[in-house]
């Protein structure tokens, strides 16, 4: 009897071990299946610029953006909060990889619309792909009255365009980085020597600090065709997620809220302290019925 017990005692762990291996193998198998990497950024924008992230099919994203006056204007102006400009926008996910959006900014009474498409998506597991590739094309329409009503004014002069290619990767649960070569075209520029075309390189990064909070940086150094007296837009901030809402609180030298505006019209210098507080508020609604 004792022998039997000893035998069993010796055998049971081995049996358990074998069973464990089977389970582990199953887990490994399912882990090896191809799956898309999600939540590289909390929002479809890094701060000002588009991020590699999509809102999903049938999802309506209501976005309300505010940019305030310069923080260094002092307590009398309540550190810039007395002066606000805003953009209201609606983004809609037509498919997982295709989003369209419209918006209207108070500065220049400007409308904008964009199409955002993701031909390649970062994935893990078998047949994985290391990064996401996103294309964004947008158009802006200035609806201010003409400075001079008498002259021959052209509708085309109101328009601007932007195109960008975003190459982004979620390196780990905590860290995501994207590069976004961006091209902005303005149909009409003020000066004879001004460039209609401006090229910038968007650099966006996210560092996750906790389950709900992330630190984000959005920088657009201008490579060529800089508009006179403009600086490179730089924004730093925090994303705060609270079920369905994403709050993006940030400090930036830019007051622009679309690509054309912040790349060609950022006149403040971040390093001289001409910084503005701003926030993006995003609320998503799932419109299409789940099957």
């Amino acid at each position: 009897m004792r022998k039997l017990i000893v035998c069993l005692a010796l055998f049971i762990p081995v049996a358990l071990l074998a069973q464990e291996e089977d389970l582990l193998k199953q887990v490994e198998d399912s882990a090896n299946q191809k799956r898309y990497v999600t939540a590289a950024f909390k929002s479809s924008r890094v701060i000002n610029g588009h991020s590699m992230e999509f809102i999903g099919k049938g999802v309506l994203d209501v976005r309300i953006l505010h940019r305030f006056g310069p923080v260094n204007s002092g307590i009398k102006e309540f550190f810039g909060l007395d002066h606000a400009s805003m953009r209201m926008g609606l983004d809609y996910g037509l498919t997982e990889n295709l989003t369209v959006g419209i918006g209207r900014t108070s500065v220049n009474k400007e409308f904008d619309a964009f199409v955002k498409f993701r031909p390649l998506r970062q994935s893990a597991g078998e047949g994985s792909w290391p990064f996401s590739l996103v294309w964004v094309s947008g158009i802006t329409l200035n609806t201010m009255d003409w400075v001079d009503e008498e002259r021959k004014n052209y509708f085309s002069s109101r328009l601007g365009f932007y195109h960008e290619l975003i190459i982004g990767r979620k390196f780990s649960d905590k860290f995501s980085l994207q590069l976004a070569p961006t091209f902005v075209h303005r149909n009409m520029v003020p000066g004879a020597d001004d460039d209609n075309d401006t090229y910038a390189l968007g650099i966006g990064g996210r560092l996750k600090l906790s389950k709900r909070i992330a630190f984000v940086v959005d920088y657009h150094p201008i490579l060529a065709g800089r508009a006179p007296n403009t600086k490179d837009p730089l924004s730093v901030g925090f994303d705060i997620e609270t079920g369905g809402h994403v709050f993006q609180l940030h400090f930036s030298n830019s007051a622009g809220m679309n690509e054309k505006e912040f790349i060609t019209n950022t006149t403040d210098d971040f390093w001289k302290g001409d910084i503005r507080f701003g926030f993006n508020l995003s609320r998503v609604f799932t419109l299409s019925r789940r099957r």
Partner: protein
């Protein structure tokens, strides 16, 4: 629905297409920032003082819109709003600015609202 939306957007992009216009070249006789004087002290400040920073409007202690416009810092901080308001002729409310005056202000704002 999807197709229509895409059509509208591509239509917009194609029909308006790309122009390389320069305001100064397109309207050589018109008002432009090269010809309109737009220094803060000599050109901009006098317009603001006489047309904006007046009693019941944007004088000291004003709580209307952007508030008082009585010194450089206050005017600079409100520069984008001032430009938008005068270019759209929403402001001033008690008088009308000439085209040159409007251009003076908008050129100064476009130049980064320098203290010159």
């Amino acid at each position: 629905m999807k197709r229509k939306l895409l059509l509208v957007i591509t239509g917009l992009v194609f029909f308006s297409s790309c122009y390389y216009d320069k305001e100064e070249v397109l309207y050589p006789d018109g008002l432009n920032c090269g010809t309109v004087p737009s220094k803060f002290a000599t050109n901009v400040a006098p317009i603001i003082q006489t047309r904006c920073a007046i009693t019941d409007c944007h004088a000291a202690g004003s709580t209307n819109g952007v508030g008082p416009l009585t010194n450089y810092t206050l005017i600079k901080n409100a520069a984008p709003q001032i430009k938008a308001a005068v270019v759209s002729r929403f402001m001033p409310q008690n008088s009308t600015l000439t085209d040159v005056e409007i251009k003076t202000i908008s050129c100064w704002v476009d130049a980064g609202a320098p203290e010159n």
